[in-house]
Each structure stands twice: as structure tokens, then as C-alpha cells.
């Protein structure tokens, strides 16, 4: 059980450990920059990502012949500014990514705690349902659900989140199984602490760190899936710009206008890279065996 000052001390150590890993620093910095850009860009540009200028379509980026500073990264097939669309697309991608992970995390942790702590029939039931989810191809599941429900941001978040709960639930259940046998849990139980209090105050904080690492890595996955679904036309409804849809729409023009696919592709790549670097660093920092500090 971690309380007050002790908990703070451990978090501080984790952060320090993170600071020692160059990958985590680069990833974290990059991610922070990306998040800041995506939150703050409306202060610098009020341009509409949907504003079309059909006669200026397929204008190349400014450093290329025919480009202009009015559209630094060029325009797409309907004359919309690519830079503005990438900026707006970042909000969609990051929002969907983090929100879906929250949904997945929330449901996964809850089910994992119940399953691991209570065991028995409830455990079997939850784990068998998890097996069914795992046996079902993820992409197929999301596509069929979206095809039935229709595509909206909310549906997308729910579908991506709810089809990804299994990983969390299994991780949490594993941790709970070992933690619930620890002395402090037994002690709490012996003085008559109710189960929900034990779960909330004693077990939950102790399963958080693996979930945190997992969540970081899954954000990257979810962003890629969102792009994939948008690429297939099953993601966020048009005309809202998303990186995946920009790829899909630009694909047709790949031989005439390289910037339509390359730049959003680059945006996806950088974001995923940042998140993965941070995730790796976090895993090392949270693992006491790798952290090399006495406990």
C-alpha cells in the first residue's frame, strides 16, 4: 500500500528514471510538442480545414516550383490547405487515440479487478468472453460494428475502446492474482475491511503501473487503427479531416502530388514514434529490476 509521501517519492523516482533514458526524453518531448501544437494551433491560424479553392487544387508545398507561402505544405485535390488539415487531423487522431484507450483501460481494469479478485464462476465467465474477443479478428469486428452502427466519432471511440479491453483485463487480472495473496491484503481482510475498499485502496494502485505502460503503447496502436479505418472509409465521417482519410484521398494522386500522402503519413509516423519511445522508457522506469534502486 502506498500512501502520501511514499507514493510521491516513488513517482519522483520514476520520473528521474525516465529522465535517464534518452529515448523517453526524446519521445516525451516530441509527444509534448505534438500535443501542444494540436491544442494551441488555433491561436496562430484560423484557417478553415474545409475551405475549398478548387482552382488552386494540387498546389505543391512552398519549397517546390509552383508552391506559395499561402499554403506552406500545398493543397489537396479540392484546394484545401494541407497544413491546416494535418493540424486539425491531429486533434481527431489524438483525441480518438486517448479516448479509446481510456474506454479500454476503464472497462479492462474494472473487469480484470473483479475477475482476479473474486475468481470462481465470475472469473471463468469474464475470461471466456475475453477469449472470444481475442479469437475474433480485431479489424473485422470493428468494421462490422461500424458498418451496422454507422460512423461517428463516438461510435469509433466506443468500438475501438471496447474491442481492446481484453489486453487490459488479462494484465490486471494477472497482477491481482498475485497481489491478493500478499500480507497487506490479508491483513486488511482480517480486520474486516469491505471487499470494495480493499479493491479500491489496496489493490487498484498496485496494478496501475503495468496498465500505464500498456496504455501508452496501445494509444499508438489505436491511432494507427483509426487511420486504417478512416482509410477504408469506416472511420470518422467525412469531411472532417483525419490523417487516415488524408492518406486515402491522396492515394489516387500519389503519382502527381506526393505531398498528399507523404505528409500525413509522416505525421502519423512521428506521433507513433514519440508514443512508443515514451512507452518503452516508461516500462523501464516502472520496472524496479531495471531501475536499479534499493527498495
Amino acid at each position: 500500500m502506498l500512501e502520501g509521501a511514499e507514493s510521491l517519492r516513488l513517482w519522483g523516482e520514476t520520473l528521474r528514471a525516465l529522465g535517464r533514458s534518452p529515448g523517453a526524453v526524446i519521445g516525451g518531448g516530441l509527444l509534448l510538442a505534438i500535443l501542444a501544437t494540436s491544442l494551441l494551433f488555433p491561436w496562430f491560424t484560423a484557417a478553415d480545414p474545409l475551405a475549398q479553392d478548387l482552382l488552386a487544387r494540387l498546389t505543391p508545398p512552398c519549397w517546390q516550383e509552383g508552391g506559395s507561402l499561402a499554403h506552406p505544405l500545398g493543397t489537396d485535390n479540392l484546394g484545401r490547405d494541407v497544413l491546416v488539415r494535418i493540424l486539425h487531423g491531429s486533434r481527431v487522431s489524438l483525441f480518438v487515440g486517448f479516448a479509446a484507450v481510456l474506454v479500454a483501460c476503464g472497462s479492462g481494469i474494472l473487469l480484470g479487478l473483479l475477475s482476479g479478485y473474486y475468481g470462481g464462476r465470475l472469473d471463468s465467465l469474464i475470461m471466456r468472453v475475453a477469449d472470444v474477443f481475442m479469437a475474433y479478428p480485431f479489424m473485422l469486428l470493428t468494421i462490422s460494428v461500424i458498418a451496422v452502427l454507422g460512423n461517428s466519432i463516438l461510435n469509433l471511440i466506443l468500438v475501438l475502446g471496447l474491442s481492446d479491453w481484453v489486453t487490459y483485463a488479462r494484465t490486471v487480472r494477472g497482477s491481482v492474482l498475485s497481489i491478493k495473496e500478499k500480507e497487506f491484503v490479508t491483513a486488511a481482510r482480517s480486520v474486516g475491511t469491505p471487499n470494495r475498499v480493499i479493491l479500491r485502496r489496496h489493490i487498484f494502485p498496485n496494478v496501475l503501473s503495468p496498465v500505464l505502460v500498456l496504455g501508452t503503447v496501445r494509444v499508438a496502436n489505436i491511432i494507427i487503427w483509426e487511420s486504417g479505418l478512416s482509410f477504408l472509409g469506416m472511420g470518422v465521417p467525412p469531411p472532417m479531416p483525419t490523417w487516415g482519410r488524408m492518406l486515402a484521398e491522396g492515394r489516387v494522386y500519389i503519382t502527381d502530388a506526393w505531398w498528399l500522402v507523404t505528409l500525413p503519413g509522416l505525421a502519423i509516423m512521428l506521433t507513433i514514434l514519440a508514443i512508443n519511445l515514451l512507452g518503452d522508457g516508461l516500462r523501464d522506469a516502472l520496472d524496479p529490476r531495471l531501475r536499479n534502486i534499493p527498495r
Partner: protein
């Protein structure tokens, strides 16, 4: 030992995969379309890419022409007995690929198969004014209609395919769809699903022999791959060439372009429900779409703006009509008069399989936004789009038809309430369409269609968009003229000297 075998197998598979295309046989013609056929029985499908394959295996009794007239085919001569009846005489000695003779009984069998309930042919609606085939002798038969039917011969030329009675009865419809025996210039050699349909020239074909001994159809969904196949010499004829790729193909000096069926795009409106039940709103939308700009930007100015529902390239289009001018102010005024001074929200559905559709839909939605109509885009997959269309679930929808030279072929299908009353129904239009198909004098008939065109122009159940002239790209080594109203008839292709 086992490991070595596995490694060898993997290497062998890899070698197969990267094996360069064998040097092309000069007697072989390779056609690459967007999709492989769904079946080979031409009676069972109306998908263009599928029918283009089927048309080389099968023949109709007459050959349709671009001006909606017909030329002799399996029928060498015909005469009109009265306004309702034609008498036809078949060519002598024609046979199916399996040797069965092509006689009047085969024509009767084919017609009955096409119209029968068992086959559920998508083509039967096009011939439903014909009552049947009367066999007179081995080579002569008559066909009559229930009322005078002006485009009758043309419709027979397009859709009355002749199939061998004995073989069909022997193998059944499902098997025939895989292994058809037709009477066309080519016979089926093999169909490797997912790869290719291989045909060889039929030695005993009754008509002019095809120049190429072997004909191969492939389906390649990626347009870039299709074009690459053409430019590297792997393919001779390629379909599905978007506008922006055309200059590149011409500039390569390796291929040229020839006509394909046009794609007449339109934006349908649900006239049964608010707000599009008001003609002023429908006219406002027509004034609110800047078709000229869309044409310039997306189709390099090569599309033909539509005036009314009848394509400017079809018989019977009223030449005095002008396309609705782009006039957002007038559109807003019309909307205000109709009680929508602040516009409204509307859904716009379209099928994601249509070429360049996403950019068209977004451009149209942006235009409508300027007159106050806030559009929610609804992209649908082909089957879902169709289901929702039939179930009257669309509010605004983009669909297309090829702009055939014969107006009855699409006007009746799309506007007559007995054919489709999903989103629009009008007694005047019904009456005029019936008059149009039963008026035999061409000048009179043209007047009827002018009336229909003008009436629908004003009543505006659609937003009239544009006709996109589609093309095939053909290798410079091949001489081939595509048909604006037809399929890929490869027996007319010749090596270029």
C-alpha cells in the same frame, strides 16, 4: 532434411511470384478491367465489367450502333410486318461453340430463359414489352410487342443474348455461369478465378473472324497498377482511366484513348418529404451547385454539363434548354420563398465505389453550404447504397447511369413510376414516357422527349450534374475503337501496322 525442403519450397514460391511476365505472344490480346467478372453468363449480370467479358463469348441477334440503330448480327435480315411485329431471318449455318445449331428454337429458348422467373435476369425489364418468339421455320421467327415500341430493335440488339438450349438444360444455370457455351467470336478456354479469363477465337464463327487468336481478361482494382500494366506492355486495353491520368498516358507515347460508355452523374432528391417536396427548394439546389467550376477543377473541363435529365448526347434532349446557371443569390431567394431563409440540414449519400466520388461530394457539399444547406455526407458501400436507395432512406443521393443514345433505356427505368417510384412520381411524366416509347415516327418521338426533358428540368427532381466521358486506354500496337454505348467487343481489334 525437412528444413531444406521447406526452404526450397519457399524459394520456389518466391521465384514464381517474381517471375517476369512471359514475352507477349503477338496473337494474344490482354484486356485489364477494374474487376474480374462475377460470372460468365451474360444473362445473369448487368455489371459493366462482367458484361464486357460476356459480350465476347455471347452474341445478340443484332448489333447495336452508337446512333441507336441496329446492324445485322445472327439475324441477317428483318422486316416489319406491322407496328407490333417484326419478322427475322437467321444467318445460315451458324453454330454454338459446342456445335449445336443456332436456329429459331434456340432464339425462343433464349428469350424465355431471359424472361423466366428462375433466372431472375436483371435484363428482363428491358425487354418486357415483347410478348414472345414465334418460330416459323428453322431460320425464321417473329417477335411482337404488346404495344408499339420504338426502341424495340435496339433493345433486342443490346439484350437478347442467344444461348444453346441443349447445353443449358444439361448443365443448369449455375454451371452455365461458370462454363458458358455461347455463339460469340470467342470461346471460353478457362476461367481461373481471381486471375484471368482466357478465350480463343471460335473457328466456325459466322461473322468476321477476330484478328487475335487468344483473348485474356484480367481484373486489377488498383488504377495505378492497371496503367502501369498498359505502359509496360503487359496489357493492350485498359478500362477505368481517371481524368487526371489521361494526359500522362498520352504523353507516354505508348497508348491512346478511345470511347467508353459515359457516366451521367446526378444528384437525386427525395421529393416525397420536406424540404425537397417543394419545387422551389429543388430549383434552388440546382442553382446552388457550381457545376462549371467542378468540371474545370475535377474533370479538366472535359465533362459535359447536363441541362435536363436527358444527356445532351442522347436522342431527344431538348436543345433549347440551358444548364441551370450557378446563382447562389437566386438560390437563397428561392429557399427563403419556400420558407427556409436560414437554410436547413440535409444528408447526402453516395456510393464509395464510384470514381472520383468523394471529391465530387465534398465540392457539392461546400457549394450547398454557401446557400445555407448544411450537408452531412454519407458514404456507403455499393450494396448498402443500393439497399437504402430502394428503401427510400436517402434524402439526397449521387448516382449515375451511362448516357445511352436511346432515351427510353434510362429515362423509363429511372422516372416511370412503374419502374422506380422511390423518390419521385409524376403522372405527366409517366404519360409522356409511355408516349415516347410507343411513338414510331422519329421526329414526333423527339418532340415527346423534348417535352419530358423540359418538364423535368423545371420540376427538378434531380440536380442535373454532368456526363463524364469515360475512356479506354489502348496500346499503340493495337487498333481498337471503343463504343460509347456498348461493351468491349474485342473481335473488332486489330494489330496496328
Amino acid at each position: 532434411m525437412r528444413k531444406t525442403a521447406i526452404i526450397l519450397a519457399v524459394l520456389w514460391a518466391a521465384a514464381l511470384a517474381v517471375q517476369p511476365a512471359a514475352a507477349k505472344d503477338p496473337d494474344t490480346l490482354v484486356v485489364v478491367q477494374e474487376a474480374e467478372p462475377v460470372g460468365l453468363d451474360i444473362m445473369q449480370s448487368s455489371i459493366q465489367t462482367t458484361m464486357s467479358v460476356g459480350y465476347n463469348l455471347h452474341d445478340t441477334i443484332l448489333k447495336p450502333q452508337e446512333d441507336a440503330t441496329v446492324k445485322p448480327g445472327l439475324v441477317e435480315k428483318w422486316e416489319k410486318l406491322n407496328d407490333l411485329t417484326w419478322k427475322f431471318t437467321l444467318v445460315k449455318g451458324a453454330t454454338f461453340h459446342n456445335g449445336e445449331p443456332i436456329d429459331a428454337a434456340a432464339v425462343k429458348f433464349s428469350f424465355e430463359r431471359l424472361m423466366g422467373d428462375a433466372l431472375k435476369s436483371p435484363h428482363r425489364g428491358k425487354l418486357n414489352l415483347f410478348k414472345g418468339v414465334e418460330v416459323i421455320d428453322e431460320r425464321t421467327f417473329t417477335m411482337s410487342t404488346s404495344e408499339p415500341y420504338a426502341p424495340g430493335l435496339y433493345m433486342l440488339a443490346q439484350y437478347l443474348f442467344i444461348v444453346p438450349p441443349k447445353y443449358v438444360q444439361q448443365v443448369g444455370d449455375a454451371e452455365y455461369n461458370l462454363k458458358p457455351v455461347g455463339c460469340g467470336p470467342y470461346r471460353l478456354e478457362r476461367w481461373v478465378k481471381g486471375q484471368e479469363v482466357v478465350m480463343t477465337a471460335y473457328e466456325k464463327y459466322y461473322g468476321p473472324k477476330p484478328a487475335y487468336k487468344r483473348l485474356i481478361f484480367r481484373g486489377v482494382p488498383e488504377e495505378a497498377s492497371r496503367i502501369a500494366a498498359l505502359l509496360t506492355g503487359e496489357a493492350d486495353v485498359v478500362s477505368g482511366i481517371p481524368m487526371h491520368q489521361r494526359p500522362k498516358i498520352l504523353a507516354s507515347g505508348k497508348a491512346y484513348l478511345t470511347d467508353q460508355m459515359g457516366s451521367m452523374n446526378y444528384l437525386g432528391l427525395n421529393t416525397y418529404e420536406k424540404p425537397f417536396n417543394d419545387v422551389r427548394v429543388r430549383q434552388a439546389v440546382n442553382h446552388g451547385v457550381n457545376r462549371e467550376l467542378i468540371n474545370q477543377a475535377l474533370f479538366q473541363g472535359k465533362a459535359i454539363l447536363c441541362r435536363g435529365p436527358i444527356s445532351p448526347r442522347t436522342f431527344g434532349a431538348d436543345p433549347t434548354l440551358k444548364p441551370y446557371p450557378y446563382d447562389p443569390e437566386k438560390a437563397k431567394k428561392l429557399l427563403a420563398e419556400a420558407g427556409y431563409p436560414n437554410g436547413f440540414e440535409a444528408r447526402l449519400a453516395y456510393g464509395t465505389y464510384m470514381p472520383q466520388i468523394q471529391e465530387q461530394a465534398e465540392a457539392i457539399a461546400a457549394d450547398l453550404g454557401k446557400i445555407g444547406i448544411r450537408v452531412k455526407l454519407e458514404p456507403y458501400e455499393r450494396a448498402v447504397m443500393w439497399e437504402r436507395y430502394k428503401n427510400r432512406q436517402h434524402q439526397m443521393f449521387i448516382y449515375f447511369w451511362d448516357d445511352a443514345p436511346e432515351p427510353d433505356r434510362y429515362m423509363y427505368s429511372l422516372f416511370h413510376s412503374k419502374s422506380r417510384d422511390y423518390y419521385y412520381k409524376n403522372e405527366t411524366v409517366d404519360r409522356l414516357l409511355e408516349k415516347g416509347r410507343t411513338t414510331l415516327d422519329p421526329a414526333e418521338r423527339a418532340k415527346v422527349y423534348h417535352q419530358i426533358d423540359r418538364f423535368l428540368y423545371e420540376d427538378a427532381p434531380w440536380v442535373y450534374l454532368y456526363v463524364i466521358p469515360e475512356v479506354y486506354a489502348v496500346s499503340n500496337a493495337v487498333e481498337y475503337k471503343g463504343l460509347r454505348d456498348g461493351y468491349l467487343i474485342m473481335s473488332t481489334a486489330r494489330p496496328r501496322k
